[in-house]
Structure formats: structure tokens, C-alpha cells
Subunit: 364 residues, 2 copies
Amino acid sequence: MKFDLKTAVSTSVSGMAAYAPGEQPEGGSWTKLNTNELPYPPSPKVKAAILKELGKRGESLRLYPAPESPKLREAIAKFYGLKAPFAFAGNGSDDVLNIAVRAFSDSKRAISTIDPSYSLYPVLAKMQGARLKKIPFEANMKIPFKKIFESNSNIFFFTNPNAPTGLGFDLKTVEKIAKNFNGLVLVDEAYAPFSGFSAARLVKKYDNLIVAGTSSKAWGMAGMRVGWALANPKIVEILDRVRDSYNLDRLAQAAGIAALNDVEYHLSKVRLIVSEREKFQKFLSGIGWNFYPSSSNFIFFKPRRGTSEGAAEAEAFFEFLKKNKILLRYFPNEKSACDGVRMTVGTPADMARVRKAVREWIKL
Amino acid sequence: MKFDLKTAVSTSVSGMAAYAPGEQPEGGSWTKLNTNELPYPPSPKVKAAILKELGKRGESLRLYPAPESPKLREAIAKFYGLKAPFAFAGNGSDDVLNIAVRAFSDSKRAISTIDPSYSLYPVLAKMQGARLKKIPFEANMKIPFKKIFESNSNIFFFTNPNAPTGLGFDLKTVEKIAKNFNGLVLVDEAYAPFSGFSAARLVKKYDNLIVAGTSSKAWGMAGMRVGWALANPKIVEILDRVRDSYNLDRLAQAAGIAALNDVEYHLSKVRLIVSEREKFQKFLSGIGWNFYPSSSNFIFFKPRRGTSEGAAEAEAFFEFLKKNKILLRYFPNEKSACDGVRMTVGTPADMARVRKAVREWIKL
């Protein structure tokens, strides 16, 4: 046998490392504020829908799910005030991003992203053998429009609100990009429910716009892997070519429909998060810490003691909170983000716990 | 805006069509024998495990699932008598196949498959821009060893038992291929539980062997999308690079663990299917219809009236059964399979219904 694993691996995969998701600690004693989950369960209608789909003995599970998740697509479209052919459903929005990369990039079709943004994009680009162009924000986190328009790439990933800064950009910004960029614009709206507006309906106006969303954050369903995209039906047709035939299981489809239809529950939880977010930002202002005003369910802030701020302080703060069983996200390897930490906005009790820890740390 | 969808699509995706899964008719009046689902629900322990994972209010769903599905991998490995590092979990085995294609093929690394076999492989190859070499069976469905060994490709897909013929090949055949083929051998064992043996434990002996399995057929869980692979841990590490971070949702992981641990239930249902399969094959022999002796949960047979056999008869029979609300699988576009139909083995009542329809059709 002349098998050699090193040469057997495809060229793009041989040089890459897997995406490193935030820690998912087992055990219940953590205040887990590292992966931007909602601190509340999904709508009670979600569990009811799952039970209904299961039936008495789980007998529905023996049959394949509907390949295109048509009822879920209807619910997605309805939520955004669009018609079903504009909707696409994914196994989480990561699935949507992965499919978009495969459908619209390759060794001759580059990808560009705003920088910093979601650290999955470079992994997906590498896997596809597509060149990735990171376009840094201008000073004061202003959008580098000219560089985006001239980036000569096939897809531009625009996380809005941005991660990890949490900064939101208005629909005029999105429209300006969609109008002037020569390729596809993928607006990743994982956090948009916390900003209060979405570019979804612009897909009727712009053929080159894909708006991705997820139930993982604002619907409390990170555990169910239900994501989506809104786009012109011609784009949806192409995403469908790349989609795994049965990318969403039966229970995920049922859960997604129930969650999206319970608009009132969704909005009530979003309001709670926004209220805690504003409260925590006031607290940060009060103690003189720098942060980006967030339009998301997380806040990126820069821990400081006295006049000392930077990567060392961020790391020390992150570790101090970890010792206290509070888990934040810290990006030691990202130049533009290593001087701060990203904290998911939790329940009022979670936030009180963080404030207490901040006060203790300052005194150290 | 100079956006042009035609040129925006990646080279490999622009020329491809989506995989066409078997019909999933809505409504309960069908005798659905077209996609090789089990006619029985999964183990009652599956529903119990899902309920436990959901908790009182579905509160577990707010948190991301364990990225690597470690407990599910343990259950998979245990089922096959292997250690956990040899196991990999996918969102159905289609996810495993897709990941393997991305990890081990590209424009310079070809794929070969036995022909006929699972019609998803060509779709995955095309999507990846990898050359696909179909290696036809020799006369009487004998394995073309020499052609496989000399196919000069990077992965060889071997569906065992084969689809759509249902023919099973013994472990000596698998070993001979693994030993003499220069690339990776992916044995797709979706139907292996109905043959009574698996090549899974050979992964300890052969570094170039991946054995894929699924809960969709023999565990009654097509609706849950739980599939797996067994392979050398070095191969698993590479599959993990390409895997979506959270490819299995919480309920799918819980369901998979429960299903795999209830070995007794699984085997009892497999026995029922094998018994009905043998009974139906005797029936076919009795009326003089040709079929491949099946090692799977389906039978590929060639409808005939008098001396007339072939594509026209196969189509007429397929349509007649469809009118009678019995859905089989028919492959009009596949040269080597268009003269027959593929029937999933169902319950005793399902099979009695088919036998009745066969007798009626013969008289037409």
C-alpha cells in the first residue's frame, strides 16, 4: 500500500486549521457569556412543536425530513415580510455561509470581508481555496467604502451588527455597498434583532444581496441549528444546488417554525437584552472603561486599571473572571481585538455578577 | 452595478444540478417504499432521550451543542467495538461523504466509484471540481478489482451493500481493495446492518479506510440526520477540519446516543426486515422475475409480463404502483438500472400490498 495521508489531503484543506468555536463548558455552574447565546429558553411553543412532530412514539422520525424545509422557509419569509421563494434554510447560519462560499467563490473568485469580523470567514475561504482579502475599518470604525468597492472580489461579507465590536450600521450603509460593489454582498445579520432593523427586504431591490440570519442568538435556539438566508430566488436556486439534501432534521424544522411564529416572545426577550445592554454600558461609562456602543447582544470593552489598558489587561481580566466561573470571549491572536473582551449580555443577575467581578478586579 | 449572476457562480457549481432525493410525499396514505426508510419507529429510548435533553421548558436549546458530539462518538465507537478517537459524527452520512470529498479530493485528486452506486457521489465530485471515474461492475456484478487498483484516483467510494442493486460483498473483498488501492477507500455502509457484517473494525488495520454509516435506515431515524464514520484518528482529525463546528444539534446527538445504545431493539427490527426480504424474494422467484439477491433493506427487481422485461415494463410497473399509492424508486436516467425498480422492504402488511399489486399488474 502506497497510501500517504499527507499527500492525500486536498490542497486547500492540507494547510488549514479548523475553526475554533468558543468554549462550551459542561456542567451548570458557569455564567456563560462567551458565545452570545440568549440567557432565556426559546418560546414555549418550540417545545410544544417538537413534541407534536415527535408524535406518541417518535414515529415521524423514521421518515426523511422535507428536503427544502418548505414550511420553515415560509415562516422565515413571513417573519421578514417576504414571499417564500426569497427564503433559504440552513443547519445554522454557518451552513448558509459555507454554502455561499462554495457557490460563489473559488481559486479565481476571491472573498473580501470587513476586518475585524466573524473569524469563520477565513476558515471557509481557505477550505474553498479562495483568496481572502481583509479590509480593515477606517479610523473610528468607519466603513472603508472605496476599498470595498475596489476590492475586486466576488463576495463581500459584511457582519451587521459587526462582531466582535457590536457596532451596527444603518440600512443606507448596506444599500450603498450593495449598489456599488460588483459582486455579491452577504450581510450576516446574526445580531440584527438587537439592532432593531434588518436589510432583509432590500433583497427585493438588489439582486446581489444575501441576508443571513440565525435563531441561535435572538430566538434562544443555538442548540437547534436553525439558520437562514434571504435573497433573490435566482440566488436561492444556486444555494440549493450546494445544500445537503436533508440539511435540517425534522425537529429542527418544527422548532424553527414555532420560534419564528412567536414574534411576541422573541421581541420580549430582545427588549430584556437591550435594556441590560444599555444598563451595562452606563456602568462601563461610569468607571471610565472604553467600549464600542453595541447594537448586538454583546459588548466589546477594554478592561483597564488606572491608565493601564491593552492586551495584558484584557487577558488578566478574562482570566480573573474565568476563575470566578464567568466565561467571556477573548481574542489573543487578533491584532485588532486583543486589547478587549467580548461579553454576551445575560440576565440581570448575570450582569450583576459581572459588575461585582469588575469592581473586585479593579481593586487588585 | 455590474453584478452578473452567471459569472458570479463558482466554476464547479455553475455546471451542476442539485442531487435529486427520492420523493417525500406529504400525507399519510402512501405506502412509501422509495427511500429505504425503516417501516418502524426508532427505539422508544430515542423519544425519552429527546425529552430529557429538552428539559422542562426546552431550556437546553438555548446553548450551542457540543461541537464534536463527543458522547455520540463514544456511542458510535462502542457499537462497533472501537475506541472513541476512531469515530466521527455527521449530520447524516451525506454530511460525512461531503466532508470526505472536500477533505480528500480536488481538481488534481480524482474520485472513483463502483458503478452503479449512490447517485450523490457524482454530485459531490462535481461540486468539488474533482474528476469522477465510474468503474462499472464486471459481468454478473463482479468487482472489477484490477480497474479499481489502476484507477489512479484519490478516493474510491464503495457502497456495501451496493445501491441500487442491494448486493453485498464480504469483508475479504473490502480488505483486498483497502490493501491494493493507493488512495482512500470509503466504504459506505448505509445498508450494512441488513447484511450482518461491517468493515468498521478493519479501520484499525488499514490507515486508508473510512467506513461510513447512518441511523437513517436500520435505526429508523432518517428524520434525525445522524450519520457517522469510523477511521484512523489521523483521518478523523482531517474530517474535523472541514466539519461545520456545530454540525449536529442537541436533540440529534441525544437521539443518536439512545438509538445506538439500544442494540436489542435495533437488531429485532433488522431481523423483521430480513425475514420479509427473504419472503419477498421467494415470491419473485415464484413468479419468475429477475432480482439481485439483496443484503440490504431493499430489493432491486425487474418487472416483467410474459417474456417482456426492460425499461418500458419497469416504468409501467412503477406508474401502476404509484396510482395504487405505493411509491417505489425508479431510475429512468441510469443506463445500468433503468430496467428495474428498487423497493424498500416494509412491514408484512406493506409487502402483502405490493404482492397484490404485482399480481394485478401481471394480468393487465
